[in-house]
């Protein structure tokens, strides 16, 4: 069979993106591995019929201009970040073929985190890692793969183990992870090794096309310009020197037993989005809240106690119930400098006017669930305000004589109901009854919508009723 050797159709015929007069050759030096590896990849894409589906990620370094040549979708990215960008691309288009192409500084130094984690997630991409033991385009500095003793611009006396450590073997590291399917180190030194590299390139791409598998192909390659060798000498150096530090071979291959991985997304109709987002419509019977519609209300409530006493949820229940009475409401948790020593507090505003700052500095109502809270906030309460405190836990009375004071044994009542944690709802019941802020009926009816733990709704309803009952007895 006669084969006509011609440029792969995965390459542009004419490199229009390349500046200058020469639009037919690449920017790579004679002897450089990039051109050869580009060719192996391009031919595989053509042979597998996936050129149109392919997205090629150009890294930083000499192959930054891979998009001059590849007639595929092209994305040029920041130094080290190709595997992260590949993740975003592949997740968006799971049927595409994504190639993440990086050099040694890019992948094994500045981008170590990105390659490790993309590999560990098993992204359905193919990584080509060109290891030539030096920074090529940047100007011959040390790479993480530079050999001990090798002279570079930043190791002018040669790399030493003591100062720079030893060269990193990325393939071996990647092979320790669970998710990668195929990891092999190959080299571009002579015809035989190049033909072997061709097989690895094709296998890796085929695994992505057929199984969405993550593969990692490390390619030992020559950089004659920075090694300051002739092209043929540098290729020999790859085999005789570089390969000693970076042994060739398959480091991991689970392709036979690996089952096709899909990143397919849920298919969702637009009309279902509200349900998916749990956006619920609150229906309020306006008859039931009629008497509260024109009531002037402007309460600034501080709720404070130990973490675990349900202080924050006491606040959210009050706010949510306020919302169900068409009041303006806001809730702000203690957070930042206020949050120290296991205490918690929140600010709740309930008003029929638009709410300015959500932070309550001077409460009209202080709910103190423990002694430190009473100590801390008592003096902040506005004159004529209300302090409601749990006197089953707080062993002193407030000293203020210009405010209403309601002691309530909320924790004791909750204990009688069989759940200490219901003390917060005892307070809700008591506060609503004392201030007549809202309809108790509406609160009891909508408690099931507001509380997250549905099995505790009935118990909490009882707690609210007991709190209200306590106030009624007090008023008698």
């Amino acid at each position: 069979m006669n084969t006509i050797l011609k440029k792969s159709t995965s390459f542009y015929d004419v490199y229009e993106r390349r500046p200058g007069a020469d639009k037919l050759t690449t920017t790579y030096c004679p002897g450089c591995g990039h051109g050869v590896l580009h060719k192996l990849i391009a031919e595989a894409l053509e042979d597998f019929g996936v050129r149109d589906k392919t997205i090629f990620i150009s890294p930083v370094g000499c192959s930054v201009f891979a998009y001059y040549y590849f007639h595929t979708g092209n994305v040029q990215v920041a130094h080290g970040r190709a595997p992260a960008v590949a993740t975003g691309l592949k997740r968006a288009h799971p049927e595409s073929v994504v190639i993440s192409y990086q050099g040694d500084g890019d992948l094994a130094a500045i981008g170590t985190a990105e390659i490790m984690h993309a590999a560990n997630r098993g992204e359905g991409i193919t990584v080509f890692f060109v290891n030539n033991a030096v920074y090529g385009m940047t100007g011959g500095q040390m790479a993480p793969t530079t050999l001990v003793g090798q002279k570079t611009m930043t190791t002018p006396r040669g790399r030493t183990f003591e100062n720079e450590g030893s060269p990193i073997r990325m393939s071996e590291i990647i092979a320790t992870l669970d998710a990668p399917v195929f990891v092999e180190r190959v080299m571009l030194s002579d015809t035989k090794s190049t033909m072997h590299a061709r097989q690895a390139v094709r296998k890796a791409l085929k695994l992505q096309i057929e199984k969405n598998a993550f593969s990692f192909i490390e390619v030992l390659s020559a950089c004659p310009s920075q090694l300051k060798m002739t092209p043929s000498r540098s290729k020999l150096w790859v085999k005789e020197v570089l390969e000693k530090q970076f042994p060739l071979g398959v480091k991991k291959d689970i392709s036979a037993e690996f089952e096709k991985r899909t990143f397919a997304r849920n298919v969702v109709k637009n009309e279902d989005i509200h349900d998916i987002l749990n956006i619920v419509t609150v229906d309020v019977d306006s008859e039931k809240i009629r008497q509260y519609q024109d009531k002037p209300i402007n309460e600034e409530i501080k709720v404070a106690g130990f973490g675990g006493q349900g202080v924050l949820s006491l606040g959210t229940v009050l706010s949510e119930m306020g919302m169900r009475h068409n009041y303006e409401v806001s809730w702000l948790p203690s957070y930042g400098p206020e949050m120290r020593g296991g205490t918690a507090n929140c600010s709740v505003k309930i008003s029929n006017k638009k709410i300015g700052s959500p932070l309550v500095a001077n409460p009209t109502i202080l709910i103190a669930m423990n002694r430190p809270s009473l100590d801390k906030f008592e003096n902040d309460v506005v004159s004529g305000g209300l302090i409601m405190y749990d006197n089953s836990l707080i062993d002193r009375e407030p000293v203020r004589d210009d405010v209403d004071v309601i002691p309530i044994p909320a924790t004791k009542i909750a204990d009688e109901l069989g759940n200490t944690k219901a003390a917060n709802m005892v307070i809700v019941g008591a506060l609503i009854a004392y201030k007549d802020l809202m309809s108790q009926q509406v609160i009891l009816e909508s408690l099931g919508d507001v509380l997250k733990r549905k099995n505790l709704v009935e118990m909490n309803r009882n707690a609210i009723l007991r709190g209200a009952e306590f106030i009624r007895n007090l008023k008698k």
């Binding site: 691309l89 968006a92 985190a113 709410i355």
Partner: protein
């Protein structure tokens, strides 16, 4: 009443999903983590992707990839995390990739604390990363606006092919308020420039490199022209009782809510005070400032940072009226009393 009571950090995710965002890449950090929590919960259910990235740097580059692919994509973080993302934001701006970034600002510099500050104004509004670029910045002051701007941000990002920030603070992120949710959008614009892994887009290229100085200068000039159009068309501000205001208080985000209360108090005393709240920080609402510079006696800028917003106020006023500054830092929020007292003091002096 289609209202839901929820946190600002959750509302912004729901708004984004209603806007057609189907990808979230992020790294957890207080006080922005609830955004990641909500995205992790809802993105996959809504037919999208959520990935917890290995770093802030990786997260913004995943955003770069998803945006290159033509998706509506978002990420979020808080101040130190935003510092880390800046390289990627610069690349997005250079490659003209639309994306939405939420910054729930916390106290700095360094590790600082997790309380609310506005000290990211410069690093967000002025670009922050390397190069001659600008980003559109929206500053919500309520949970409702966290939802609404979560939607608006994507429209602006796509319209201008530019990153858009939602710049907010720990209070707006952490607080809960009722939100009315709009219907999901149905008209997401086509992106013929994106790389979609098909034949139609196989000649497309996403890049920010241009070795030739003349070419790169042309690219920069094109970007500046885009920013000029944004400045002309996208200024947004809220004015409160400014009609006859002699004293104009200026603040954004949580501060504007406190100022509004102070303005009401001052008005009750007969002081002609008003508020200008910049909603877009870039573009800064210069047109609204221009009018108020004519009519007011002086300005008082209130910010939870060391005089960052005030620089834009001063540029707009350009020396024509006194511009005063009240700052709190470290996570402290100015009280209505201290703003009120500052106004009274300035009135006595003027």
């Amino acid at each position: 009443m289609a209202k839901q009571f929820l946190k600002g950090n959750e509302a912004v995710v729901k708004g984004a999903i209603l806007a057609g965002c189907r990808a979230y890449y992020g790294y957890p950090i207080t006080p922005a983590s609830e955004i990641a929590h909500a995205a992790a919960m809802y993105m996959p259910l809504a037919g999208g992707t959520f990935v917890q990235a290995e770093s802030e740097v990786a997260a913004i580059n995943m955003v770069y990839g998803a945006s290159s692919a033509g998706e509506r994509v978002m990420t979020a973080s808080s101040s130190p995390g935003i510092s880390l993302k800046q390289e990627g934001v610069s690349y997005c701006a250079g490659s003209e990739l639309p994306c939405v970034i939420v910054d729930v600002v916390r106290g700095g510099p360094g590790l600082g604390n997790i309380a609310p500050e506005q000290s990211d104004y410069n690093q967000v509004v002025k670009g922050g990363g390397h190069g001659n670029y600008k980003v559109i910045v929206l500053a919500p002051n309520s949970v409702q606006e966290m939802c609404n701007f979560g939607m608006l941000a994507f429209d602006l990002a796509d319209k201008y092919r530019n990153p858009v920030y939602i710049l907010t603070d720990g209070f707006i992120g952490q607080m809960m308020e009722p939100v009315e949710f709009p219907e999901p959008v149905t008209n997401i614009p086509e992106k013929p420039w994106a790389v979609k892994g098909n034949d139609e887009t196989s000649d497309n290229l996403i890049t920010s490199i241009d070795l030739d100085p003349d070419d790169l200068e042309r690219h920069n000039q094109k970007l500046q022209q885009k920013y000029a159009i944004i400045e002309e068309q996208e200024q947004r501000a809220e004015e409160y009782r400014t009609d006859d205001a002699e004293i104009v208080l200026i603040g954004y985000g949580i501060v504007s809510r406190i100022i509004q209360t102070v303005v009401d108090e001052l008005r009750d005393k007969g002081v002609k005070a008003g508020m200008l709240r910049p909603i877009t920080l870039f573009p800064f609402p210069k047109k609204a400032m221009e009018k108020l510079t004519e009519t007011s006696k002086f300005f008082l800028t209130v910010e939870m940072s060391n005089g960052q917003l005030v620089n834009d106020v001063r540029l707009a006023v350009n020396g024509r009226k006194p511009v005063h500054l009240l700052t709190r830092m470290g996570g402290n929020v100015p009280s209505t009393k201290e703003i009120h007292d500052e106004v009274m003091k300035l009135m006595r002096l003027s």
